[in-house]
Amino acid sequence: MASSVIDVRAGELRALANREYRYIDRKWDLMFWVTAAFVVGAAANITMLLFAGDWDFWTDWKDRQWWMTITPFATIIIPSALQYIQWRAWRFPTGATYTAVCLFLCTWVGRLIQWKYFINMPINFVWSATWIPAGILMDFILMQTRSFILTSLVGAGAWTIGYWVANYIMLAPFLQPTVFMGHTLTVADVQGITYIRAQTPEYLRVIERGSLRTFLQETQYVSLAFGTTLAVVGYWIGQFIGRYLSVWPIGRFLKQV
């Protein structure tokens, strides 16, 4: 008896999912995805820029300690919000990947038009990170678990690791040693010294400057772990945005302004 009620319900929903409409054609879908891409990319970009932008602008800021502590937190917020919105509205496990793709396009347009063609910084110094592999992993976890709590815990870890691995691959050549002005430095350090930034003196870098305790060279992994826990916090900030600033207002009105 109960199963046939569920079957009936599922059948009705299936029919509703396949319903033919008079006015709602595919153009609505296209306009939604394309126009939303701008505001999603903008929100993700401004959050990344003003919370963690310096680490993303330059190779010589991508250190073992601060880069991976701050960036995952800053950049998981909007993907989390979009995960909620797109799952709640369409049951699409696409929020993180969509945000990452929009962010990718925004940052590369910015790096090329502004950093490269305006002030002529070489692109191998000011390249933007990619968040897309991290987004794919996080969306896959949402799709499998259908749970935001599990996605916040496992997904934030996947986000952090996915982001670090993807971008460390591109950073690796710049961590090779070279001798410059008689001192052994990395290629990234040399880029920072030689390509003159009038207002980013070298001491301004918030990077690992050596410490008393490096836990037998485990600095990177400690940062990844802490970055993950901060990313969990960032995930729930994003959930607040998705739930209370984007979905809750639907159909709600202030009676007096």
Partner: protein, 290 residues
């Protein structure tokens, strides 16, 4: 998918027939050159203005944008602030004024086709607001970080600040409020005055207004010399963070899409109900499972 709706036969013969726009091939409610036209034109115009300003910068930044104490800077850049603010001001007054004035003369009883068309235009305006948010929160801020590596900041009106803070930031307010005025006057079923002030628009408009207000705090922060906060160009400095927090309020834009989609469903249901009103009751098809 789109079908023409025949004019409803007036059951209450005292009321005039609801307004239904004429059928023009290719310019229907959901045709690209019909209801969606402004959804294409408006974003293109905005992007065009941004690109034009970027080209202007390519010619006149080096060296005249580097020293705010020169007469060249005054004419090329401070005047650009004046032109930007005047331009936005004139556009704002004109557009809002037009929306409010024509609200009295446009048809109040409209057909479903016409309402769908208006929702498509509304989506076009929301899209324009979205594109403006991209220009003000991504396109110019990327330049800001780059440009301030070429000089020592000496004025609030730097080359990269001018199109960002004094053109597209205020334009964001214009577009958000204008979109609301369009919704209030053209989509009474969704945003009519009697319903109150929508939370969705409250958040979106608040985002654009607080972003403009934050410009003042930003300039104050850069001019104050405590610690390294003001004098050094650290992009993630604390007095930049309110830009982000206010930007999150723009999440309300998704509720605009949600609210109008729900209205579209209602329109579809009404149309279907009317069509099947005189038809025999359909057989319930037993749910066959997956």
């Amino acid at each position: 998918m789109t079908q023409q709706i025949t004019q409803a036969v007036p059951e209450r013969s005292e009321q005039p027939a609801p307004y239904d726009p004429p059928v023009v091939p290719g310019r229907g409610p959901t045709d690209w050159r019909g209801g969606w036209a402004w959804g294409i034109y408006a974003p293109l115009i905005l992007l065009g203005v941004a690109v034009a300003f970027r080209i202007y910068q390519a010619f006149f930044t080096f060296p005249w944008g580097l020293d705010s104490s020169t007469p060249q800077f005054f004419w090329l850049w401070r005047m650009a602030v004046v032109v930007s603010l005047l331009g936005v001001g004139i556009f704002t007054v004109s557009w809002w004024g037009w929306l409010l004035q024509t609200a009295r003369t446009i048809p109040q009883r409209i057909s479903r086709r016409e309402e769908v068309r208006r929702i498509a235009v509304f989506w076009g305006l929301v899209g324009a607001t979205s594109v403006n948010l991209y220009i003000e929160a991504s396109f110019w801020p990327n330049q800001d970080g780059a440009f301030h590596q070429t000089l020592v900041r000496d004025t609030a009106f730097t080359v990269s600040h001018i199109p960002m803070f004094y053109l597209f930031f205020p334009l964001g307010v214009t577009l958000a409020v204008g979109t609301y005025l369009y919704g209030r006057t053209r989509l009474p079923n969704v945003y009519g005055a009697g319903k109150g002030f929508p939370w969705s628009f409250f958040l979106l408009i608040a985002a654009t207004v607080t972003e403009v207000a934050q410009v003042a705090m930003n300039e104050w922060g850069h001019s104050v010399n405590f610690g390294n906060a003001g004098a050094e160009e650290f992009f993630s400095v604390w007095f930049h963070w309110p830009f982000v927090l206010y930007g999150w309020l723009a999440g309300g834009i998704f509720a605009l899409w949600g609210e109008t989609i729900l209205r579209l469903y209602q329109i579809e249901d009404d149309a279907e109900r009317e069509e099947t009103a005189d038809a025999p009751a359909p057989q319930t098809v037993p749910a066959g499972g997956a």
